[in-house]
C-alpha cells in the first residue's frame, strides 16, 4: 500500500487538511514510521496532478495547511480498485492487509468482503500447493508444507480479525 492510497481512503472518509491527513495516517497506517511533512505535500501534489483530489477552502493565509482536500470520483474508483484486489499470498502481507481492513472501515465499505476475497486468494494458493505436494516426493511435501503452514497462519489471523471488525470499526471512526 502506498501513502497516496492511504490518503485517498482517509479523504473518502471526509475532506481534510494536510495536517489532519498526516495525523490520521500516522495513527492508522504508519506503524512506527510517521510521515514527514515533505512526504505529505509531495503526495498531495501528485494526487492533485492525477485528478484524484481537488482543493477547496483556501483561506486568507496562504500557508499550505489552509488547503482542504476532497477526493474526486476518480479517487473513489482508485480506492475501490485497491480494496477489490487481493494481496498476493506471501508471508509478510499482514501490514498490507491490515491497511485494507482499515481502509474499508474508514470509507464505510465492507471489511468482511475484503477478508473474504483474501481468504479465497489464499485458498487458491493452498489448493495448488496441496496438489503439488500430493504429486511430489517427500522433499516436495516438506517444502510445500512450509508454505502451507504459513498461509494457514495468515488465514487464522484473518478469521480472528473478522470476529473483531465491529470493535475495530468503532475505534477507527472515533
Amino acid at each position: 500500500m502506498t501513502i497516496a492510497t492511504a490518503f485517498l481512503a482517509l479523504l473518502e472518509g471526509q475532506p481534510q487538511h494536510g495536517y489532519d491527513l498526516k495525523r490520521a495516517y500516522d495513527q492508522h497506517f504508519a506503524g512506527d514510521r510517521p510521515l514527514h511533512y515533505g512526504q505529505v505535500y509531495t503526495t498531495l501534489a501528485k494526487l492533485l496532478r492525477h485528478g484524484l483530489v481537488t482543493v477547496d477552502g483556501v483561506g486568507g493565509d496562504s500557508g499550505p495547511d489552509r488547503k482542504r482536500y476532497t477526493i474526486t470520483d476518480a479517487g473513489v474508483t482508485d480506492v475501490q480498485r485497491w480494496l477489490d484486489e487481493p494481496e498476493k499470498p506471501d508471508q509478510y502481507l499482514q501490514s498490507d492487509l491490515y491497511a485494507k481492513v482499515i481502509g474499508a472501515l474508514l470509507t464505510g465499505r465492507s471489511a468482511a468482503a475484503v477478508l473474504d476475497v483474501q481468504r479465497e486468494e489464499h485458498l487458491v494458493a493452498m489448493r495448488e500447493l496441496t496438489r503439488r505436494k500430493q504429486a511430489g516426493d517427500l522433499a516436495d511435501r516438506i517444502i510445500c508444507d512450509h508454505a502451507l503452514f504459513h498461509l494457514d497462519a495468515d488465514l487464522r489471523w484473518l478469521e480472528h480479525t473478522a470476529t473483531l471488525l465491529d470493535d475495530l470499526a468503532v475505534q477507527v471512526r472515533r
Binding site: D116, E120, L123, R127, R131, Q134, L148, D152
Partner: protein
Amino acid sequence: MTAGVRAEGGSMSTLLDAQGLHKAYGPTTALAGADLRVRAGEIVSVMGPSGSGKSTLLHCAAGLTRPDAGHVGYDGQELSMLDDVRRSALRRREFGFVFQFGQLVPELTALQNVALPLRLDGVSRRTAERRATGLMDRLGLADKARSRPGELSGGQQQRVAVARALVTGPRVIFADEPTGALDSVAGEQVMEMLTTAAREAGAAVVLVTHDARVAAYADRGIVVRDGRSSERMGVR
C-alpha cells in the same frame, strides 16, 4: 488428467443442488438462506466459524434433516417430495458419510464395520465382506480387517470410516470434520486417502472443516457465516 482439473470445467452437470435453505432450532436460526451446489465428482469444502451452520447445511443437503424452507434437488429429484422410506433408501445407496468420531460399531471388526452399509441394504454377508475386503486392500487397511475399533488409533478408525462410506459406491460422500479429532499427520493421511479414493471412484465429496489445510484438498470451497453461504454471496 487430474480430477482437480476435471472438476473445474464448467460443463459438468450439477448433481446436488440445495437452494435457499432455512432451518431454526427453537429460537436459534441455524440456516438463513444457504445454498450448496455439487457437481458430479467434485470435492467442495465448506468452511466457516463454529456455530455458523456448516453441519446443519450438510445434514439438510444429505436429507438427514428436513429444512424449514428451501429446496434440495438430487440428480433431478426433489428430496422433500420423497417419503422417509424412499429418502433413506436413496441416502443408503447414493450417499456415504464420515463424521468426526464415534461412528464405528465397537463390537464389530473393522471389516464388519466396512461391510455394514451393504448388509443394511440386503446384500448377503459373503458378498458384502468380499467387497469390503477388496476395498480395504486397495486402501491399505488389509492388516486391520480383524481389529475392533478400540484397538485402532484415531487415524486408523477414520480410515476405516472412509472405507465404510465408500463401500456402496456412493456418488456423494458427506464428511463433517473428518479430521477434527486427529493430529496433523494422521489428519493428512485421512485426507489423502479420502480424496484419492473418491477421485478414483468418481464420487463427489462435501467436506466440512474449519481447517484451511484440510480444505485445501478440495477443488473449490464455500464459506458459511451466520447461516448464509458464499455460494449465494457470490464469492469466487
